[in-house]
Point group: C2
Chain length 334, copies 2
């Protein structure tokens, strides 16, 4: 491995001078600078980050922890995070938590060990608080993505879950739907709670009572969707629309609905949060509240980098609004 000492020797100067050239610090004669630079290029020198980290106490590593990269929302978020990280000179350490507290915990231990300069995380849920506290204890800045954690204060990038849910609900109401089932993600996430709130408010502002018999909790990891849809179908007063908390749930619901012989939107309208990547959809079908996934990542990295520089700054929450995309999974009630 080529070190600054090898460069120094060849250049006839000290390692310190080479270090100065690399970092553009101190005053160095142009002549020396050129010579050192030439030799570095010639010898194919690349600085050793581990060594630098050890003395500088920074790694230029940011950790991104998301439930599942396979989910298009997080995919695009990751893209935004990577682009922004690169722009700020950071690299991204990447892990999936699978909506699983233990995995998340293990990941965060690894992150602490790797001494990442900061963590971007879409936490599994309220149960993530202890992990997150650990990070704080180790003085590692955290930015929360998409989900808040009660009792844990940090910079946060949030969607307008409540408003979005209200808008989606209002749209269905406008189409004449009166019985709208709600299939939520895990209530241990702030996002699920906010969406439920928005749904309720949407209903009540139209003077409609919320019927708990058609409100379900599926968990974001899509558990028992078939069962839930089964229950739905057996209801005396079957709903005419389904509001799914995210697109994974919506798609699973649609599959179950299809399996039960229903056609969408003829027999049932369906809406949800999060759009699918336009490039990879044959023909956009779902009516959604589209969240700016890319910005979640990009803004998150921005906040994190600021926070790394200034740890005393007041935590901020950035709320990104969603756009209602009305498509073919919804239809006016006949």
């Amino acid at each position: 491995m080529v070190t600054i000492y090898d460069i120094a020797e060849r250049a006839g100067c000290s390692a310190m001078t080479v270090s100065r050239v690399i970092n553009n610090t101190g005053r160095i004669s142009e002549k020396t600078r050129q010579r050192v630079k030439a030799i570095m290029a010639e010898m194919n020198y690349v600085p050793n980050i581990a060594a630098r980290s050890l003395v500088l106490q920074e790694t230029k590593l940011l950790s991104l922890v998301i439930p599942d990269i396979t989910n298009p929302f997080y995919t695009t978020l990751a893209r935004g995070a990577e682009d922004a990280a690169r722009k700020f000179g950071y690299q991204l350490l990447f892990s999936n938590s699978d909506e699983n507290l233990e995995k998340e915990n293990a990941t965060l231990d690894a992150v602490i060990s790797a001494r990442a300069d900061g963590v971007l995380i879409a936490p599994v849920g309220d149960g993530s608080a202890p992990c997150l506290e650990q990070l704080k204890q180790h003085n590692i800045p955290v930015v929360l993505l998409d989900r808040e954690v009660p009792g844990f204060e940090a910079d946060t990038v949030l969607g307008d879950s409540k408003e979005g849910a209200k808008a989606l609900t209002a749209m269905l109401l406008a189409q004449g739907h009166r019985r709208i089932a709600f299939i939520n993600g895990s209530l241990s996430t702030s996002t699920a709670r906010q969406r439920l709130l928005g749904y309720r408010e949407g209903l009540s502002s139209a003077g409609i009572a919320c019927d708990d018999a058609i409100v379900f909790e599926a968990g974001f990891a899509d558990t028992g969707l078939a069962e839930i849809i089964g229950k739905l179908m057996d209801l005396e007063q079957r709903p005419t629309a389904v509001f799914a908390a995210n697109n994974k749930i919506a798609l699973a619901a649609i599959r179950s609905l299809h399996a039960a012989g229903l056609s969408i939107p003829r027999d049932m309208s369906v809406v949800c949060f999060d759009d699918l990547e336009a490039d990879y959809v044959v023909d956009p079908f779902l009516t959604v509240a589209a969240q700016p996934a890319y910005e979640f990542g990009a803004v998150g990295v921005g906040l994190l980098v600021e926070r790394i520089k200034d740890r005393s700054r007041q935590p901020r929450t950035v709320t990104l609004s969603s756009a209602l995309m009305k498509r073919r999974s919804t239809a006016p009630l006949r």
Copy 2:
């Protein structure tokens, strides 16, 4: 920051003893081990990887470089890589190259600097050779994913592009299609070349001449699809089927075809490589040669880890076969 010295002091032993406890090396009395462990837990000790890296010359970091995480094939590949990396005790450093040689280059510099123990890369194309050589020069093991690079020898995970393309072509022929357009990705990738080969062989084994007027190169980054489709439409003998080299191209082609007022498969059959994530598709439509994307990542990490342990081993190429999924984007020619 808590160091092994802090632990040692409190435990009344030397730093070396603490190090031994952490790494489970050497012989240590059970009593000492317990005491040290207790104190580590109590003080919330986490080893500093940078320091360890510096002496061990290994970082337990693997770099994953792919063209675009937004592409479902790479998303799932990344998932497989992450799961496998975790299993082997590595973390994943993650970057997108955007099918862009310069970005790829910049990324690889960062990787060298970070002293990743190995690199998994789906290279931009044949032009990646110099970058890759640099990695080799720095003694960083490389595993090629999805694409070979002529003149660069390395462990490689490949799909059966040629066979898959032949199968897809054969299927279209069996449906009666005789004029099958081929829209390829960048010919500077081995994958594109192999797929073209498979297409040609498929045709010729049915005794059909390949008409270069209906073979196009779009670049995997989807350039000028509309234009290509335009040309296609203007052809005197319009093709009855389109073979797209990957799903991004296929979807773009379909959009253009739709825009031109064609219906699929009625007016045109469409096939391609790579399936979409089943969880996130309302209703699978595309007839594809589905590649086991997850295995690409998982197998790749396996090869890389082996290679890191034994650098003298003969490079291996693992070929993963694809599965023909016949769906509704294709129909027998009337």
